[in-house]
């Protein structure tokens, strides 16, 4: 009990850490899953185990990070279209650029970032100037892009740029994908230290208050979406490396997975609460949950079991979070 009271004193009553309280559940979950994996499936901790995990997990982490600033800036901003956007950048890259012989790395990276940013700027403009709720705008985006993706490519085909072929093997830890992922996480870290990020938090935490006290809420909302676009673009790049081809439908699965990862990491779509580290941890947790479950033999239904378990864990983590907040408020 002594440990708990010390922990309580340090973590729950330290004002500096109070804003990070949402990280407690994902951290505890990651420790539990880690322990289980050590016993059930230690192969994950070998060089190619980790290497493979990084390749698979990168698009998810980046997609969850793409959602995070949009959620932080408030108005219930869950970007439902992130999956089809990743799919769109993937198929258009494979069909339009690589298909026509444009494969220079500089051009490819510029394209993925440019497409992500452009799309998010349009979405932000609709949300800000036409005043439609974000979830409706991004739902429309989801439907539009899903259709567009299938007109560009009616079934999985094509190739990723040649220099990317080996990225998807995942035989070693320090693969190019590893560096891209680390680089993007560092960018997030730096971004979260900026005054601009502060303006996003203020806008998300209470838009009326932010507007009335002179925060440029329009710029903050645009900025959050642009950050989202950058991360969505990089998510599409790592996704293209993962599948080494174009796929018009698989990208869509990232919408729900990334939303789950973000919420599991403690970011609230109501705005102002949460952060990027939570989304990274949430994504890792999701991967580890499915990894642990795959070590049991559920036969044909394993996919369903994974989904159901993830759902239960998500609900439980939200429950624990809200109980924790209640308890602290009472003290």
């Amino acid at each position: 009990m002594n440990f708990f009271s010390k922990f309580n004193q340090f973590y729950m009553h330290n004002p500096r850490l109070e804003r990070e309280r949402h990280l407690l559940v994902p951290i505890v979950l990651i420790i539990i899953l880690f322990t289980v994996i050590i016993f059930r499936a230690p192969h994950l901790f070998s060089s190619d185990g980790i290497g493979g995990a990084i390749i698979v997990i990168s698009p998810l982490i980046l997609a969850a990070l793409a959602l995070t600033p949009i959620a932080l800036v408030g108005r219930g901003g869950i970007d439902l279209s992130v999956g089809p956007l990743i799919g769109f950048i993937n198929v258009s890259l494979v069909a339009w650029l690589v298909g026509n012989g444009y494969t220079s790395p500089f051009l490819v990276v510029s394209y993925v970032l440019g497409a992500g940013i452009l799309y998010q700027v349009i979405v932000a403009a609709i949300i800000i100037y036409i005043r439609v709720s974000p979830i409706i705008v991004t739902l429309s985006g989801y439907l539009v892009l899903t259709g567009v993706n299938l007109t560009i490519m009616d079934r999985p085909s094509g190739f990723s740029p040649e220099w990317m072929y080996e990225w998807g093997y995942g035989a070693e830890i320090l693969s190019p994908i590893f560096f891209i992922l680390s680089g993007m996480i560092i960018i997030w870290f730096l971004f979260s230290r900026t005054v601009f990020y502060q303006q996003i938090l203020l806008t998300g935490a209470d838009e009326r208050m932010a507007f009335a006290s002179g925060v440029n809420t329009v710029a903050a909302r645009f900025g959050a979406h642009i950050m989202g676009g950058i991360f969505a673009g990089m998510a599409a790049l790592t996704y293209t490396a993962l599948i080494s081809s174009g796929d018009p439908t698989q990208g869509n699965t990232y919408t729900l997975a990334a939303i789950t990862a973000m919420i599991l990491g403690g970011t609230s779509p109501a705005g102002g609460i949460g952060g990027g580290l939570g989304s990274v941890l949430g994504s890792i947790n999701m991967y580890m949950i499915s990894y642990v479950l795959s070590s049991f033999n559920f036969g044909n239904v394993s996919g369903f079991v994974t989904q159901a378990s993830t759902g239960v864990i998500l609900a439980l983590s939200l429950l624990i979070n809200s109980l924790m907040n209640k308890k602290v408020e009472k003290l």
């Binding site: 804003r19 900026t194 005054v195 502060q198 935490a205 208050m209 009335a212 006290s213 903050a220």
Partner: protein, 524 residues
């Protein structure tokens, strides 16, 4: 929205604030009509008027939150386009609501809007130090600047909002009912801060309902009625009598119809409608008994946080007492009130003064807001709503309370604060309660509306109902309450009967002294 402000031309002048023929409509409602005001440098200028007279709109126009439809506006030669621009010009506004982001820290809240988009106005450590200093100066408490605002009390939140507007040393400060959540002592501290700023040359605009407070600090007062300026007082003319005369054309009319209730009416032979036995409402305090009789109006007051709010919540069944029991009706002790639905069942109704959080449903219409609580109990026939009687009931309360509104299907937020409050009170009256519990019902309600409400309450009481109400303004108890219970340290401290109610007596009791002459000495 994109062409905001295109019609407003700025006039280039010195250190003055000039409002010339400003008009603003919200839909069909005219908020301001050809309104002109001049505010000089280094003066405290008060704007007074009934609810819906356009005071708040004027304040919001000056701070760039609302853009006028017509007219010229010049603040130190510029016209604010939005709050961001207004702050750049040097205009700071403290809003009626306590605008804080609950999930962010104290320092983030105080410095909201003072940083640029990409660069800080000062270092983070410096900002933290400054936040702590300011709050220590205002509240006397050392508050860690990293504390999340949701963990702080309402009065501290109000000081955070005030600090936000003072960190930039404003050239013009607008206070819109800013002392609403402050107690008397804190209000005095705010006043001394206002005087200090005025002496430094800042122009201060005070929008308030508290006339007593206004007289103490204002150099100049402009009276608004229905969006137009009806009077301008300065210096010695700023008296409560002059203001009251100008404020409301209705006031004389209402005065005539006022129901003079005999304050000497003996309640001793009336039946007890509510009985509280040995209840404890605040930790580390004493338990006490309380009796409410039919036809009685009891006022409850006290300095901030002395247990009076807990008591009101306990009586209304919102919060159970820490110990002891509450019974409705006669002393046979059958009808114990344990929670809100018990209270409801035994005819105890509750109206909060905190309309925005505890009263209205902003997205629903006026009619829906009125009828929400009534469908189930009064106008229900096999699960279908009986629309016609419901409408009749709505029209009756609308007439009784003289509620001014457009169509009843308009959103409730299209009404002024006072009319919103009337709807909520009408909703409660329509349930035909035995006891009405009111928590600061006149918060943000003007004098005219207040009188109308009080005369309705008196009707209610003469029909055998009872009222218990909390207020932080002592003048609310005059000619209305049969007795006033003053809370101190979590339990009743004094019980003042109607013939003894006066500002002096209540104030001295609030400060823990039963002899009025003592307090008078202290003030000298």
């Amino acid at each position: 929205m994109i062409n905001r402000g295109s019609q407003i031309k700025s006039i280039n002048t010195s250190n003055e604030i000039q409002v010339e023929n400003i008009s603003k409509k919200f839909g069909e409602t005219v908020a301001l009509n050809n309104c002109s005001i001049k505010i000089k440098q280094g003066e405290v200028h008060a704007i007074v008027g009934e609810n819906g007279s356009g005071k708040s709109t004027l304040a919001k126009i000056l701070s760039g939150v609302v853009i006028p439809d017509k007219g010229k506006l010049s603040i130190f030669g510029e016209t604010p386009r939005n709050p961001m621009h207004a702050r750049k010009i040097g205009v700071e506004m403290i809003f009626q609501e306590v605008l804080v982001a609950e999930n962010l820290s104290v320092v983030d809240n105080i410095f909201a809007g003072s940083d640029g988009l990409f660069f800080r106005s000062r270092s983070r450590n410096n900002a933290k130090k400054r936040s702590q200093e300011m709050l220590r100066h205002f509240t006397g408490i050392d508050i860690n600047p990293d504390t999340l605002v949701k963990n702080l009390s309402l009065s501290v939140k109000q000081w955070i909002v005030i600090s936000r507007s003072l960190i930039t040393s404003p050239r013009m400060l607008i206070l819109d009912e800013s002392s609403a959540s402050l107690d008397l002592d804190a209000t005095n501290r705010l006043h001394s801060e206002i005087r200090k700023l005025r002496n430094e040359g800042c122009s201060i605009l005070v929008v308030t309902h508290r006339i007593a407070e206004l007289i103490r600090i204002a150099d100049h007062a402009t009276i608004l009625r229905d969006g137009s300026v009806v009077g301008d007082l300065s210096g010695n003319e700023v008296t409560s009598k002059n203001i009251m005369q100008l404020i409301s054309s209705k006031s004389n009319k209402t005065e005539k119809f006022r129901i003079k209730k005999s304050t000497t009416l003996s309640n001793s032979n009336k039946e007890t409608v509510l009985l509280a036995e040995n209840i404890l409402v605040s930790k580390d305090s004493n338990s006490f008994n309380f009796k409410l009789k039919a036809g009685e109006i009891i006022g409850v007051t006290g300095l901030e946080g002395q247990g009076q709010a807990n008591f009101i919540n306990t009586i209304a069944g919102i919060k159970p007492p820490l110990s002891g029991d509450i019974f409705a009706g006669l002393s046979n002790k059958k009808n114990k009130i344990k929670n809100f639905s018990d209270a409801d069942k035994f005819g105890v109704a509750y109206v909060s003064g905190d309309r925005a959080n505890e009263g209205i449903f902003p997205n629903l219409s006026i009619f829906e807001n009125f009828s929400l609580a009534l469908y189930r109990i009064l106008f229900n026939q096999f699960g279908w709503i009986k629309m016609k009687p419901l409408k009749n009931s709505f029209n009756l309360e609308k007439k009784n309370l003289s509620i001014v509104m457009g169509r009843s299907s308009n959103r409730i937020t299209s009404l002024s604060g006072g009319n919103q409050q009337k709807i909520l009170i009408g909703r409660v009256l329509a349930t035909k309660p035995k006891i009405i519990v009111l928590n600061d019902p006149s918060r943000g309600v003007d004098a005219g509306t207040k009188r109308e409400l009080y005369s309705q309450f008196k009707n209610f009481v003469s029909a055998g109902g009872s009222i218990i109400y909390l207020s932080s303004e002592i003048e609310e108890f005059f000619d209305f309450a049969d007795r006033v219970i003053v809370f101190r340290a979590g339990c009743p401290f004094a019980n003042i009967t109607s013939e003894n109610i006066s500002e002096d007596v209540v104030l001295t009791a609030m400060f823990g002294n039963l002899d009025p002459s003592n307090i008078a000495n202290k003030e000298n």
